[in-house]
Subunit: 388 residues, 2 copies
């Protein structure tokens, strides 16, 4: 087989408003289509991917560096022994002559490209991606469903809006909900948290809070003291994602689960969090997102780092709410995955028909990642890339 | 005053060949021109900048995010109280709605833009940039000259090539030379080092070596043991730039100076190196490069981190060999600066007429950064941006 074309385009995403540090108005990410010379029903088989949610599009990098390097590679530099495209080898070719360190936008761009490559690989195997990943990297073990939580709770709805939003998530089958904090004074956030807890107070509903890296150490400690009695599901990204010491100090006084990792874009950064962040393997949550960190090739290195340091993969609940991470979670035995049922359209949520039951998502059995099963996203991909 | 246009273009750079991890063939960086409505001799005053050497161009980010954000800002969001463009405020506007963490390509793009803004500011003041920086951030204190070392010693010349190269640097007035190591077996590198040391063995010549992040911990230790008796100027970037523990372990056994930091692109990453890397404030060298790390606004935060942790600025010898860092070194009292007298044309080296005397560079007194004093670079900038 042969990759005959790789296309990229900016994909506009609806904004949920602002978190504690960023206004997402006008948000775009990069979408990628990898076109093969393999035919299915007379048409070339195509893999689709996109950059994970919350960072801006990186089309320049894809057009100027990564796509040309892949297209210039020899077949044996991209294919496995069976002659099938190998995303691990593609990642090596894409990263040729890139210096070490500086894990930022290029990790996002390659996350999008890697997603499209795995979609293609799973379609070639006529299997859902989680099955392919389990067979290759997890001794064939898959989870029948994946714990998911509904991420939302932005600042644009007021108390009644928050109540309605949470009721909607519970109706959809979610049991765990995450809301934003840190953009307003502590007392105001505490009032919002009380509203959310009241709305969740049945069927085992639980609440997580996310400060998006806004707090200083002092603010993070004060917020932690305030919420400690509430027994929240977790307290996410209190300070700057690279301030490992803040996490370590906070973990000495905050008794509940802490969560972070979505803004660490490499296994080297993930390793530093585990070395220096004081994270506790019995309770804390790691949110590394393959879609922001070079895709699965580097994510497997992160899993190896975790294994070597005594961390269960069940502590991983990736950021991003995308189907790639859902497949990784089901195929590699992670603890769960984020979900954006109400925001970041057309990327938020999983397949249109996918059910959430008692807080767990059941994966579709369609070949590949299944972006074709999300109507509005699929129409955009098909129309933009003119692949069908 | 008003910024009336910001232009960017890819600037091709000649390659020195390969270091231990990267082949620089086809290297490009981003050049930026900030055009003001202030006239000098009937023409608009323009500030010029470029991305620091060794990373690829980031034109997509400049065109799609950073330039549009600056051009959309209100005048008071970009100007200081005197009505002059303020690079610190421009940096805030450029980074609006960027998430924390993931310090990579965007830090390089903003390094280029920041350089152009400071060039414009100094030209408006009719002063060399180092004088402006000293007045604003260093109580007016400047250094009359700056220690510089000649970086080269790539793998493309053989023993005689290395001898000739070093003799050339000594003829130019350099006393310290850096060569690449780590791409070949230890014994072969040791033979190259002996050649270089012999070539430097007069006039106080000293040799530094740079592994460009290639070594594992075991290899870094073995290399350190091998070179320890040689008393080299420093041993640079032995392992991955984010592997702080490797540096900490190596510092326990390697008695001489260690150097690193060029691949840390934010003050948060720099702080982690100082917190966790075991770097010794009495001897080790920090090579953070403003041109790769959001420019001067974030560099000043790095200087504040260093001050707070008891580090003298004299331990700083920035990577990149560009005139922006040369001005920062002279204006803010750093220890020195890299120089590429023979490679990475047209960026390598400083002003055409600038002299190196006994290993120190004397800065020109022209207004701004002085890119106009580098003939081939200036011809390229002027022709590409059609500013003159």
């Amino acid at each position: 087989m042969k990759i005959i074309d790789i296309r990229e385009a900016d994909l506009p995403i609806t904004s949920p408003g602002a978190n504690a540090v960023v206004d997402f108005a006008g948000l775009k990410t990069s979408a990628v289509a990898v076109v093969s010379d393999c035919l299915r029903g007379g048409r070339p088989l195509v893999g689709y991917g996109f950059g994970s949610i919350g960072r801006w599009s990186e089309g320049g990098l894809l057009r100027e560096r990564f796509i040309p390097r892949i297209m210039a590679a020899k077949p044996e530099e991209l294919l496995d022994a069976a002659g099938i495209v190998d995303p691990m080898k593609c990642a090596v070719m894409a990263m040729r002559n890139e210096k070490p360190g500086g894990h930022g936008g290029r990790a996002v761009a390659l996350g999008a490209l890697d997603m499209a490559l795995w979609d293609l690989v799973a379609k070639l195997a006529d299997q859902p991606l989680y099955r392919v990943l389990a067979d290759r990297f997890n001794e064939g073990r898959t989870d029948p469903d994946v714990a998911v939580y509904a991420a939302g709770g932005y600042y644009n709805g007021g108390a009644q809006g928050l109540r309605d939003e949470i009721a909607g998530y519970l109706d959809l089958g979610y049991r765990e909900v995450k809301m934003k904090v840190g953009a307003v004074p502590l007392a105001e956030d505490m009032a919002r948290i009380e509203v959310a807890l009241a709305a969740l107070d049945h069927d085992g509903g639980r609440l997580a809070v996310d400060a998006n890296g806004r707090f200083t150490l002092e603010e993070a400690l004060a917020f932690g003291h305030a919420i400690a009695p509430l027994g929240l599901r977790w307290y996410e990204e209190p300070g700057d994602p690279l301030d490992y010491r803040l996490m370590a100090v906070l973990s000495e006084s905050y008794p509940g689960a802490l969560a972070t990792g979505e803004n660490l874009f490499s296994h080297q950064d993930a390793r530093n969090l585990l070395r220096y962040g004081g994270m506790r393997a019995d309770r804390d949550i790691l949110q590394f997102d393959a879609g922001l960190s070079y895709g699965l090739p580097d994510y497997l290195r992160t899993l190896a780092v975790m294994d070597g340091m005594g961390w269960s993969r069940r502590r991983l609940h990736p950021h991003g709410g995308h189907q790639m991470s859902l497949h990784i979670a089901a195929g590699l035995g992670l603890g769960g995955n984020e979900s954006y049922p109400g925001v970041f359209r057309p990327l938020g949520g999983f397949a249109d028909a996918s059910r959430i039951e008692n807080g767990r998502a059941i994966l579709p059995d369609a070949p590949g990642i299944g972006l074709e099963l999300k109507g509005p996203l699929w129409r955009w991909l098909r129309g933009t890339f003119e692949t069908e």
